[in-house]
Symmetry: C2
Subunit: 423 residues, 2 copies
Amino acid sequence: MSIKLPKGTRDFFPPEQRIQNHIFDTWRQACIKFGYEEYEGPIFEHLELYTDKSGDEIVQQLYYFRDKGKRELSLRPEMTPTLARMVNLKGAALRKPLRWFSIPRLFRYERAQKGRLREFFQLNLDIIGSDSIYAEADLISAIVSMLNDFGLKADDFVIGISSRELLATWFAEIGIADPDKVYPVLDRRAKVSPEVFRDNLNELELNAEQVQLLDDFMLCTSLTEIEKLTQKEASQKALADLKQLFAVLEKAGIAESIQLDLSIVRGLAYYTGIVFEVFDCKRSMRAVAGGGRYDSLTQRLGGSKVPCVGFGMGDVVLADLLEERGLLPSPQAEIDVWLVSFGNDMEKIFSIAAKVRKMGLSCSHILSPTRVGKQLESANIAGARAVIFVDGDRAPEGAFEYKIMETGKQSADSLANIVKEIK
Amino acid sequence: MSIKLPKGTRDFFPPEQRIQNHIFDTWRQACIKFGYEEYEGPIFEHLELYTDKSGDEIVQQLYYFRDKGKRELSLRPEMTPTLARMVNLKGAALRKPLRWFSIPRLFRYERAQKGRLREFFQLNLDIIGSDSIYAEADLISAIVSMLNDFGLKADDFVIGISSRELLATWFAEIGIADPDKVYPVLDRRAKVSPEVFRDNLNELELNAEQVQLLDDFMLCTSLTEIEKLTQKEASQKALADLKQLFAVLEKAGIAESIQLDLSIVRGLAYYTGIVFEVFDCKRSMRAVAGGGRYDSLTQRLGGSKVPCVGFGMGDVVLADLLEERGLLPSPQAEIDVWLVSFGNDMEKIFSIAAKVRKMGLSCSHILSPTRVGKQLESANIAGARAVIFVDGDRAPEGAFEYKIMETGKQSADSLANIVKEIK
C-alpha cells in the first residue's frame, strides 16, 4: 500500500521550501517596511462565517465538515471573514486605522490547474477603519514595493484599478437594477468563452443596448473619457476618489505601474468601492493579486460598520511569474561549516560542533563512521562554506586544519580565528 | 448574529503573533544552526495515513471528513506520517541521512485545557536514514541549544531519556508478551488516577509481581542499577547505545540537561528504540517536547525500511513555560520612522515615505487629515524610533525636522543623514 498526496495539494521538499521561504520572507519584510502588523487566525471557522457573505463561487468550493461535537466547520477559503470576525470581537478596543497583514493557508475545492491549487498560501494586507482613498494608496504602494523586492520591474507587471462605486452609478444610468448580480458574471468574462459570457448576460436579462453600453464604459482608459460618458453628478465622489488616488500614487513614484481598468470588477460579493488586480504585463497568467474596498463586511457579520480595504496575493501565480522571469532563488542548501574527522572520532566531532555553534556559525557533520572522501562529498551537498578537520595531525597544538570551499584555500588556525574568517 | 472563534483554536492579534513569530524564528534559527533543512506538507492527508499507524489515542482525535470528490481526508494530527510518506515517495533519490525540520500546524479533537488545544503548532526535527545513536545525540543537542536560545537554563528543564528496546527486553524477562499494549497504559500513568492506572494494568492481565517488577525497573536512575537487574545478554545492545549516548552528550557539554528516565515510554505506537521527553524542572507542566526512534514507519506505509528518529515540540506548553520564566518578548509594536505633516499634505507624505523606505527603513503615517498631536500619539503607539516632519517650516531648504524618540533629541538635517542616524 502506498498512500498518495491529496489531489490539489503540495509537498514541499527542502528545495521547494527554500523557494516558499523566500516568498514568505520577502512578503513579510515588505509589510514590515510599510508598518503593517502580522496577525493569524484558525485554519477552520464556523461554516456560517462564509455562507451568504463570500459569494456563491467560494461557498461552492468550501471544504466543510462536522467535528465530533457536531459543529459545522469549514477550512478557510479566504482570510477576510476571519479578519472581520476578529475586528468585531475586539471592537472599539482596537485603535483604528489598523494596518494588518497575514500569510494564511487557504483551501478551495476547485479543479486543480495551472495557477490554481486546492491548498495555497496568500498574503493578505488590510487597512481597517479608514474610509480615506489614501488607504487604497498605501496598499497599492506596498504591492509595487514588494514586487520590486522580488526583482520584478515596472514592465513586468501592471496594477489595474477600477471602482465598483463608479460602475454602480453607470449601471443605474443604463437601467441595470442589481449590480451585485452582474459583478460575478463580468468577473468571469476572461475565464469563459464569449458564448458562455453572452448566455450569462442573457440570464441577467440585459438587452443588447445595455451590453453595448457596459462595454463602452468598461473599455474607457482615462478618467476624461468617463467624465464625457457619465452624468457627472451621480459619479462625482467615485471620480474624485480615483483622481486623488492616481495623483498620490504618482507622487509615490509608481505612476508607471498603475492604470485605469474598469473591466476589473472582482468576484467576491462584499466589495463596495475601489477594486484592483495585479497582472503580469503579458496577461498570460491569472491575476497575481487582487483586492478592494469592503465597507460593510463587519456589519454583515454582526458588528458595527467599519470601512476596510485590502488585497490578497497568492503564492502559486507569483512563483510561476518569478520562475518565468528567472527570479527564484537557488534551491541549493547552505551551511557555514562541515566538520570532518579522519579517525571518525564522534565525541570530538560533537565537542567541536557545540563550540562552533556557540561562536555563531551553523555546523553539521556525519552521524556514523564514514570515509573521509564521502564526508567531503556530504560537505559539498550541504553547501558548506568551509570544512574544519577536527583531528588532522598536520595542525599545531590547539589549532585545526580547515578549507574554504569557494577559494580552495587550505590552512590551519585556532577555532576562534577560523570562525572569524568564515563569518 | 455574532460568529465565534471555534473551540480549542486561537486568534493571534498582532501582540500574540509577535510572540508566535519569536517562537518560530528561534526554532528555525536553531535548526539552521544544526544544518537541518525545512520541509512542509499538506494540512490534510488521506485518512488511511493515520489509521492503524499512529496509535488509538490519536486516531480517536482525528478531524476527518469527505471532500466533494468523496475522498476520506483528515487534518493532520502529527507530522511524522506525512514525513514518512514523502520519504517513501522519493525513495532512494533522497541522499540519506537527511536532517529535516518542519513547523506544522496540527489538529487533534480533544478536551481543550491548559497546555492542550485542538489546533497548535509543533516544531518537528527528524533524522531519516541513520540507525546510529549519534542521530539521537544530534537531536538532543539541538533541543538543549534551542531551549538555551529561548533563554532557558540548565536548571529550567531536563531531558529524560529512555529506551523501548531496553524496556522490551525487561518485559520479555518478566513474562509480558505484548509490549505494544503496555506502552500506552504506562504513558498515561501521570495523566490518570492510581486507581485507573491499576485498572488498566489489570485489563492487560499483569499480576501483582509483574507490576512490582515493572516499577522496580522503571524507577532505576542509573545504567549500573539496570545492569544489576537485567540479563545483560538480552539487553546488551540497548545498554551499549544508552552508554554511548550519555558519553557523547557529555562531550557536547550538556550532561547537566539530561537524565536516564525509564518511566518515559511515549504513547505513539511506532517507536522502536530510544525515546525521550523534555520537562520543566518542576514537572508542573506537560512535556515541552518528546520523541524517539521509529525504524519501521516507512515500511508500514508501503516503502522500504528506513531507520528514523525525531521529536516534536509544541508551541503551547513552550509559551507557557517561557511566560512563567519571564522570557517572552515585549508585545510592543516597532517601526523605524513615523512621518508627521503639519499641513496634512498627503502627497508630500507619500512621496517622502517612498524615499525613506527605499533607503531601507520601515515607515508609516496617517491616512487622512489628523491633528499633529494625534499624529504623534500614533507614532508612539506604533513604537516609532523617530518622527520626521515632512513639512516643518523651521528646517532649511532641502532639510527636514526630526525627533529621536528614545533620547528626545530634536534637530533638522537632510533625509539621507537622518536615515543614517536612525539606522
